[in-house]
Amino acid sequence: METISKSSRRRARIYSAEARVAYICLIPAFLGLIFLTYVPLLSVLGISLTSWTGLAKPEFIGFDNYVKLFTTDPYIKDSIIATIYFALLSVAGSMIYSLFIAMLLNRKIPARGFFRAVFYVPYVLPAAAIYVGWSWLYEANFGFFNYLLSEIGLSKVLFIADSSYVVPSLSLISVWLAGNLIVIFLAGLQNVPSVYHEAAEMDGANGWQRFLHITLPCMSPIIFYNLLMSLIANLQVVTPALALTNGGPGNSSRFMTYLMYDQAFVNYKLGYACATTFIIFAILAAFTAVLFKTSNRWIFNEGGDDK
């Protein structure tokens, strides 16, 4: 009894010494987090309660900006719908596309290195160049896609000039850009133990069954990671709106981040833009929370339930 308490006391001392070191080591991270994340976040909240335009002195107006956003703002509703629509399409598209491509690239095919590079290249190209290229493909009057359509006798599709097609068209670009997901999937696929596949093969499982019952469960943590990253990135979408559509036609591609940019740096309503930012933040947080909450139902941990 005596010895146990003695040793546990010693252990506690060691722990507290260790803890001190740990906290000291954490300070830089905390400083960064506080000054680069939390203070700006609080400032955004603070500014969102003012009518600041950057010129005259900010005036405290309580929750007026939020009230205005939810009642009379002509853009925000369309903007939220467009963003979520875009994010869901892009996430679903790029997850399926990149897992599929990753599995093809994981096979022993000739010139595998070359093809891996081919599918990764879009991700490293400069965004501006990519969107200029796609704007030529999508152009409504003389664009390449419409040239092909008219060559085979079909009528023109307006792509990004039509409010019903603009989001799917932009999503397609974002799927095409998903090279980073492919790389992460590839790494994950190479970690799926081949013994499982061999065992299943011996039991007579076909390719689809092995995919469903071995590859997918083993990949589920990677899928979760990619899903999360892709969802957050796509909810924050802004480049296609800036580079291709200016948020149009109408509000059909006026994504939330673009709306915020427009309010802050085109119309210089900084207080209002901060309120919009907080709404974006809330939506992002909600989506992320839902994903995390549901994740333990479908993520398979090889090491068992050690959470």
């Binding site: 939390y38 002509p74 003389f142 990004i160 000039a161 039509d162 291709l244 149009g248």
Partner: protein, 479 residues
């Protein structure tokens, strides 16, 4: 375990408190120091010199230092600085320093400087920012600038709001009709008129555009077998950026605003009908390519791309893009705009302002006045990007020759009639941002409202009726 937690909490709270305190301090500092720190702001970029001046200039008369900000590359800034150096050498009271800021970040930078009380003394300001900045108390009244002067800027180039002259435009611009002469020659159609009294009606314009619109089989709109999906050359394109659309609303007897800028008139039938006519060029007449106002490169997409025979846009295109295309063989001409009921073109031009944070308003105005005499902007004017603002260049034929008779321009007689005379005619009306506030909000919303009108999913009437209250709120600054 408990100890660990409490250390953590302690650390966290210390950090939080210190950050909050630090933050508070900063704010106080910047707030209290604004007035005093703004004094040397004019020479912020040459701070070293500025701090030296008081010591050594006791004997000599001290030169007042002012900064002038402009949009453009560092190179363009050097050109302007060279002009300013001439001014600096011409007198011994004022020293001007030029700061060039890239166009894309120009207004953002100025906004940041305004927040910090660090604005230059004087500078250029984007058209739609002038009245807003003035109503927030950021600009000096410049109505006294041209008192007793022999040549004043064109009256349509003064920014006026509630009876005060806020600024004069740094340059003049008007909207024109550009056309591809080779396409007209090939079709055997007469060129659009460059004289205002011969201006085409809208129907004549559409009829001509039909002759110039050709599908793959060589058919024109309205002919049997014409296929709108295989058009290889369009007849006309009318720029549908919201601010340029006001031309047609005014031309049809309507408008975006009342003449004093207080009322919104875009809901009137005449205004709505004008916008629909522009949309119908694509939807019904099949003479125009589709444009949903997503990019601001109308002339590049039409005349320079060689896909459209006629296109409306601003005079600046002569210098920004058409001169290069001309060297590469484009044979283009300029004409006056067609009209619906009244002959209308809009004129505009970025402003030169004196900021209210300056301590030297008189010196700033003196510099602006000197700088705005066109000899000093000669590079921009002779290339065709800017048109002069002073009246004498439009009235004195020798000066007009000096301005227009050079290879950057279309033939003299044509440009003189379709641009120089046009800009001084009764057709030229100031764009809305010369006399009314919140045009950015209004135009952004209007652009969004009209998005589905260009593709025919809705009509201008329905779209505008549905959003009229929001448009009025935008104009009132309540958006």
């Amino acid at each position: 375990m408990k100890a660990r937690k409490s250390i953590g909490v302690g650390l966290l709270s210390v950090l939080l408190v210190s950050s909050v305190v630090g933050c508070g301090n900063n704010e106080k500092n910047s707030a209290s120091s604004t007035p005093s720190s703004s004094a040397p702001s004019s020479s912020a970029s040459s701070g070293g010199e500025a701090s030296k001046t008081p010591e050594k200039t006791d004997t000599k008369k001290e030169k007042v230092k002012i900064t002038y900000s402009m949009w453009g590359s560092a190179e363009e800034g050097n050109v302007t600085q060279a002009v300013a150096d001439k001014f600096n050498a011409s007198q011994d009271r004022i020293e001007v320093e030029v700061v060039a800021i890239p166009w894309e970040s120009y207004m953002t930078k100025l906004n940041t400087q305004a927040t910090g009380g660090q604005l230059p003394d004087t500078g250029m300001l984007k058209e739609d920012g002038v009245i807003q900045w003035s109503s927030e108390g950021m600009l000096n009244d410049v109505s006294a600038m041209y008192e007793g002067s022999d040549s004043k800027p064109l009256d349509s180039l003064a920014y006026k709001y509630q009876g005060k002259t806020l600024a004069y435009a740094a340059a003049n611009e008007v909207l024109l009709l550009y056309y591809n002469k080779d396409m007209f020659d090939k079709a055997g159609v007469a060129y659009p008129p460059s004289a205002l009294d011969k201006a085409w009606t809208w129907d004549e314009f559409v009829a001509t555009a039909k002759k110039l619109t050709v599908d793959k089989k060589g058919k024109h709109p309205g002919e049997d077998g014409f296929d709108k999906d295989s058009i290889v050359q369009y007849g006309a394109s009318v720029e549908n950026l919201p601010w340029q659309l006001e031309t047609w609303a005014l031309s049809n007897g309507g408008g975006f605003y009342s003449a004093d800028g207080t009322e919104v008139r875009i809901g009137e039938d005449a205004s709505v009908e004008a916008i629909q006519k522009v949309a119908d060029l694509y939807l019904k007449d099949h003479v125009a390519p589709l444009s949903v106002g997503q990019t601001d490169d109308g002339i590049q997409r039409t005349i320079i791309a060689g896909t459209v025979a006629m296109a409306t846009n601003g005079a600046w295109n002569v210098g920004t893009s058409l001169n290069t295309a001309k060297e590469e063989g484009l044979n283009y001409g300029v004409a006056v705009l067609p009209y619906m009921k009244d002959k209308v073109t809009l004129n505009t031009g970025g402003a030169n302002v004196v900021f209210s944070q300056t301590k030297h308003p008189a010196e700033s105005m003196e510099w602006l006045k000197w700088y705005n005499s066109e000899e000093n902007n000669w590079g921009l004017i002779s290339s065709g990007i800017w048109m002069p603002t002073l009246e004498k260049w439009y009235t004195d034929e020798t000066l007009t020759h000096k301005w227009v008779d050079n290879p950057n321009f279309p033939p003299y007689e044509e440009y003189k009639s379709a641009v120089v005379d046009y800009a001084r005619s009764s057709a030229a009306r100031p764009a809305a941002w010369f006399y009314t506030n919140h045009t950015t909000d209004f135009n952004t919303l209007l652009g969004s409202v009209l998005g589905d009108v260009w593709t025919g999913k809705t009509t201008a009437k329905d779209a505008i009726a549905k959003n009229l209250e929001a448009l009025k709120a935008a104009h009132a600054g309540n958006n």
